[in-house]
Amino acid sequence: MPNLRFTEKALSDWMLGNANDSDIAISSRVRVARNLQHIPFPLLATSEQSMEVLDRLSDMEKYDSLKSLGTFYMLPLDDIAPLDRKVLVEKHLISPSLANESEHGAVILSEDESISIMINEEDHLRIQCLYPGFQVREAWEKATVIDDIFEAHIDYAFDDTRGYLTSCPTNVGTGLRASVMMHLPALVMTQQINRILSAVSQVGLTVRGIYGEGSEAVGNIFQISNQITLGQTESEIIDNLHSVVLQIIEHEKNARERLLKESKLRMTDRVRRSYGILSYAEMLDSKEAAQRLSDVRLGMDLGIIEGTSTSVMNELNVMTQPGFLQKTFGEAMNTEERDVYRAKLIREKLSPQQH
């Protein structure tokens, strides 16, 4: 059952790859929204129409050329248990709206989980490509190849003037949303973050917390993405995001250096305390866990802490989410139990002499 495999491990294979600047830019993601001609968007489509969309987009024989990109698995959402859906959301492989609201929704996942093709989400088709570190260009190149594979068999809803037509007016034109997930603890500590985020929003980009739409930025992790999809070419959008992210990386690096130079003792103390708490605590709520993990990640990047790795940090970011905890410990938990299991899991992952 491929289904199980995708929700068993916290860390997708794509996250294991080494990449430039992966200490600050954790991952890059590109999403392309497309719709079929002559069928209402999922918001208004009848059950039959949604079925038809699913049939046409999930015909893996037809999209044979996808094989050149790896092995793919087609998973109808109806066949996935609610808890597994939650885990797929926590791993960013599907959106909350595909998990909860979609009728005849499905996802086509590549074996290493770097490609996720959602069917009957807000739009008929959403192609998502994930890369570790700062590789937003690579992600777009892959997404456009997949787009072409579908387009060879499907008439997209496209208009000469408005471009690719999407359900939400914020996606029309290119249908492209590119984003980079960034860990910016030093900018937060030095209180430069708000100034930088507001500068970012002036140039047509937007900033969100790790779980998107309306959620808070947990553990100093921010997602920077393009806001404009109409009136710019795909490469302009990608280049704009690319250059802004580069600048933010530079600012974060400088802030880290300054913190090390001006308050090394304080920094070391803070990072080691957090490491100590994560290694010994009996209970941890999600907010504290995220903050302490952020400290330890920073300590690792700065060489203050050894004996753990970026991939353990990435793994813990996913594993400490409610769905994954429940999946790992196999029971319905109340908040207190969840805090106990979260602490236990982190302790085990961080302790090197674990048997």
Binding site: T144, E151, T161, L165, S167, V172, G173, N194, V207, R208
Partner: protein, 174 residues
């Protein structure tokens, strides 16, 4: 509550942004919002544009009605999916791709405000895209022609005009 921009008109647009759990609220009057139209998403920084969207669409309709433009006119409706413009403004979502055609007259201001632009310049589907490419090239050439004329470069303008005619003949014959 007064508008935080001009400080003398009542604020009618309200939005909240959340960054690192810190909430910031914005309160702006209609005329400041109109003046800073394209700025709104920028001002708002970390908050979701979706939440603002239906406000923008409504505000657009309200303006038209107030100025008398929208009076005695049948409500706009998409003939393919049946969605009305007012339903669209509430949902912030189109019902189908034809909605773009039926609501077309109202969309420019909205797109301008959200994207700062009203037309697509990016990727085009490979199949059936050839004509669009020609159209785009024609438009570019026509723009350049205007520029040449304005700069009194008549020789270049004449060459350009001939090229445009050739291209137009070709695309019509297709």
């Amino acid at each position: 509550m007064l508008c935080q921009e001009c400080g003398n008109k009542p604020a009618t647009l309200h939005f909240t942004k959340i960054v690192s759990g810190e909430k910031t609220e914005f309160h702006i009057c209609e005329s400041c919002a109109r003046e800073k139209g394209e700025m709104i998403p920028g001002v708002s920084g970390g908050f979701s544009i979706h939440s603002l969207l239906s406000g923008l669409i409504d505000f657009d309709t309200a303006n038209k009605i107030k100025s008398g433009v929208g009076k005695d006119i049948q409500p706009l409706r998409c003939e393919d999916c049946g969605m009305t413009y007012s339903q669209f403004s509430k949902a912030g979502r189109f019902g189908c791709s034809s909605c773009y055609k039926y609501f077309n007259t109202r969309l420019d201001p909205l797109f301008k405000r959200v994207h700062g632009s009203t037309s697509h310049v990016g990727k085009v589907p490979i199949r059936g895209g050839a004509q669009i490419q020609v159209k785009r090239r024609l438009q570019d050439m026509k723009n350049e022609l205007q520029l040449r004329i304005a700069q009194e470069e008549f020789e270049e303008a004449a060459t350009l005009r001939d090229q445009i005619r050739e291209l137009e003949k070709g695309s019509i014959e297709q």
